[in-house]
Amino acid sequence: MARLIRFIPIFLISLLLMSWIAGASERFPPPEFEGGRELPNIQTPAPRADYMGYVDVGVLLFGLIFASWLVLKKRSKRWITGLGIFSLAYFGFFRQGCVCAIGSIGNVTQAIFDPTYSASLVILAFFFLPLAFTVFFGRSFCASVCPHGAIQDLILIKPIEIPLWLEKSLRIFAYGYLGLSVLYAAASPMYLICRYDPFIPIFRMTGSWGGFLLGFGFLGVGMFIGRPYCRFMCPYGVLLGWLGAVAKKNVEITPDACIDCRLCEHSCPYNAIIPSALDAEKTNPAVEKKRLTWAIAMVPILVAIFAWAGGQIGGALSRAHYNVTVAEDVYLRDAGLTDPVPDDNVQAFKGTGKKTEVLYAEAVAIAGRFTFGSYFFGGFMGLVIGLKLAGAAVRSKRKDYHIDAENCIACGRCYDSCSVEQLRVGSPEGDPDMKEALAAQYQKEAANS
């Protein structure tokens, strides 16, 4: 009897333990196998180790240093392309496009606006390092560290020159994309940049049909129009452009004084060379000043108009958020205003057991954030257009060929075209193969004449 009593607490404890382990959901108690049985464990393959993220940062840092050196000191298109191929292979195809500086805009924005979220150090490094390098050395990141830039630079075969007015208009889209990306990341958070990245499906060699179409579309266009994504879409490029404009050092077309030979005039496929103002038409400084004053005075008006217009689209933009879509679906169905075809979203929502009031409240809050943010988005667009207009009102008076520091992505194509550079490194005409080819050409011409 005493022995039995001793067992009671053990029995009770084991009962408690069993019920705790079993949880509430076990309708069919797991069997006790005769003679016991080793139950297989769930395999849990580890994700990519944390330290690999720091390796990525290391590669990025190395790439930035190397690229800056190549662009500013080595001045070699060939080497820049080589580094670009490496970056494309590593960040593009090996790392499959994630983590990337362009996409980090979303994370950083969310980290600023969402107190419950914090971006990892690796992502912050990817956001910060290229920007910091640009402040000192110009956009060498674009030249050969960014896989998106590298793939487009490689694919460019026969550049077509775009008229400057079209170029300047199209560049505004990048600002719009930046504004929208920030708005979405701050208000929902959704990462537009990552979701609609055209090259990610190519890097991963898998993806949706639409994604591939976009990617191949950009590559196809990119064979003839240099870097269409970088120039007209890239939101990170906008940030880099701002910093590039005030960079300590930038690409110099010529290693020495410009002799105004004009040879580089059409060498830039990205419309980023500002021609020499030598023998430019005389301008009336008073008129120019007046024009500039007008343009600057326009800025606040434009900001106000755009902010108002932007405020109108908050609701429409918030529809991209899943909760808002579901709330609308549920509302319309409950009200009997939509087709009674069973809707996955609504079914799934009912399945969660959440109250519709809660859903509506959430959706209203999200729509409110979007509306609030879209005023800023509109204002930002107004500011951009106002400043661009002011920029168009002034003309460069520099009497040499120089780069447009905001838009130059340091690809190095202009180096080879510069006659001063060719004197420095040796003209291609000195190449024995070239000599032979030239001789043949001369003979042909002589025969013709």
């Binding site: 076990e26 797991p30 196998f33 769930i42 994630c98 996409g103 914090s118 969660t352």
Partner: protein
């Protein structure tokens, strides 16, 4: 000439001023984010099986052709039933392994006799496409020992997980690198224990 030098001096001054300003701004933003993150580690997407409503979108929404989400089985929760509601369709024609009875569209669940009246069910991972049919059957009518998990040997860890975007149950969570799985059964308990210490 003097005019030109003056202009370029002014330009250089303005430029360096802006440069300093942007550096301070950038440093401020990133610095404060680092401070608030306090050395945030990388996180990984995972499915919380308690929130999952087995809608089946994991099979089709992943950027990979063959989803990174697959079913796993917590054997210690399994009832080893003959009539497994995760293995068989509702109202099966017969309790055998014929395709007409099986719920799994790819035959990824293997049914093996253990001892009367128990059968063991194991997931053949390369065949699983993450459609959650077995999970639905098992969770709604059985013990819920089958559940979905992102397999990190397959997941490429997109910045914005394309399944998470459309997940109607908000079941996608970000997990730290030392606990990239949210498991059920004893292994899940062990994890919870581990996280407490």
């Amino acid at each position: 000439m003097a005019e030109a030098t003056k202009t370029s001096d002014r330009r250089e001054f303005l430029s360096s001023g802006l440069r300093g300003l942007s550096l301070v701004g950038l440093g401020g933003i990133v610095g404060s984010l680092i401070a608030s993150a306090r050395g945030a580690e990388a996180t990984f997407w995972q499915i919380d099986p308690e929130k999952c409503i087995f809608c089946g979108q994991c099979a089709t929404d992943c950027v990979l052709d063959e989803s990174a989400v697959k079913a796993v089985h917590a054997h210690d929760m399994c009832g080893y039933c003959d009539l497994c509601t995760g293995y068989f369709e509702p109202d099966p024609n017969d309790l055998n392994t014929g395709a007409e009875n099986a719920m799994c569209p790819t035959g990824a669940i293997k049914r093996n006799f253990v001892e009367d009246p128990y059968f063991e069910y194991t997931v053949d991972e390369p065949l699983c496409i993450g459609c959650a049919r077995c999970v639905k059957g098992c969770t709604m009518f059985g013990n819920g020992s089958l559940f979905l998990q992102i397999r990190h040997d397959r997941c490429i860890d997109c910045n914005e997980c394309s399944i998470a975007i459309g997940c109607p149950a908000d079941a996608f969570v970000k997990q730290k690198g030392d606990q990239p799985y949210v498991l059920k059964g004893m292994q899940g308990q062990a994890h919870h224990e581990g996280s407490k210490h």
